[in-house]
């Protein structure tokens, strides 16, 4: 199964990368862009046939390594 873990900075944590992307988009003429938040998507190919177990494993990996829960949150989805 393929599992996708999406990691984002927590609300309230300053995201200078998102800010820089927002500035660049404004420079390109996308004047209606408000706040921009940048995160990270990690796709994992798991040797696991059960979607619930695959997702639980993704959650465990998110907690232990893929996200730093001091500053980030993450969501896990089975994508195939």
């Amino acid at each position: 199964m393929r599992v996708r873990v999406s990691v984002m900075l927590k609300d309230g944590v300053l995201d200078p990368q998102g800010k820089a992307i927002g500035h660049a988009l404004h420079t390109l003429g996308f004047g209606n862009v408000g706040e921009v938040r940048a995160g990270r998507v990690i796709e994992l190919e798991l040797d696991e046939a059960d979607p619930a177990r695959a997702r639980a494993q993704g959650d465990e990996m998110g907690r232990r390594l893929l996200a730093n829960l001091v500053i980030e949150t993450f969501t896990t989805e089975v994508v195939g």
Partner: protein
């Protein structure tokens, strides 16, 4: 007497420096430790699972594992880190500088996290640090309120923690160093270095080890190492 013993090397402080793939400040750290203690530190590869008998473990600066995922994230789970954690649990002294500080936060041996510098730039220049307390092994070479120069070289030095954690750190006297004057990377409450509850684990962002000899342009960083050696000498 102590000086003589130190000169003979028999009672010198035993330190070890952990080397990860991508570590690049281990030799600077070794020079500083050897100058202060008279004994060359042991270099410890990250795949080791046990430590030799040591008084001090240092996690030096660099870009362990290429800073992939997050700075220090992979190194925090290296095989040797179990032994470093156990060493700290037994009351051993651990110093993490720059990437070493990032590794200690990722390993949850110190609170908070180090995010991208607020202005997004990698900072390679000197800063001024203020010593917040003078009664720990890491700060006893100074007096509270002393300021000193330290070179910075980091992209992810912006210290963050939630307000409760910051209040607790301040309340428990666990802020060791703060940026003095300007706050170069946007760190919460200008924090540059923090201590564990035992005061035996310290993380510091700037490189005190890079100002320990007049040939380097100054000796502002020496009190860190002289103080540590004085505290740990047998």
């Amino acid at each position: 007497m102590r000086r003589n013993r130190r000169r003979s090397g028999q009672q010198a402080v035993r330190s070890g420096i952990v080397v990860f793939p991508g570590t690049n400040r281990e030799r600077d750290m070794a020079i500083a430790l050897k100058a202060a203690s008279g004994r060359a530190p042991a270099m410890l590869w990250h795949r080791e699972t046990e430590l030799p008998p040591l008084d001090l473990v240092v996690l030096p600066g660099g870009f362990s594992h290429g800073d992939y995922l997050r700075s220090g994230a992979m190194a925090a789970h290296a095989p040797i880190m179990g032994a470093v954690r156990a060493f700290a649990g037994r009351g051993g002294y651990v110093l993490g500088v720059c990437n070493g500080f990032q590794i200690l936060t990722e390993a949850q041996m110190l609170p908070g996290a180090l995010l991208r510098n607020a202005a997004m730039r990698f900072l390679s220049r000197d800063c001024v640090l203020r010593v917040e307390r003078g009664d720990t092994a890491f700060t006893r070479g100074w007096k509270p309120g002393d300021v000193f120069r330290a070179p910075m070289a980091h992209g992810d030095g912006n210290y963050v923690a939630d307000a409760d954690t910051l209040d607790r750190l301040e309340g428990e006297g666990r802020v060791a160093f703060r940026y003095h004057g300007d706050n170069p990377n946007g760190s919460a409450r200008a924090i540059a270095g923090v201590l564990s509850p035992s005061l035996r684990v310290c993380g510091l962002m700037p490189h005190a080890e890079d100002l320990v000899d007049p040939l380097m342009g100054g000796i502002d960083g020496r009190p860190l190492f002289d103080g540590l050696v004085g505290a740990l000498v047998h």
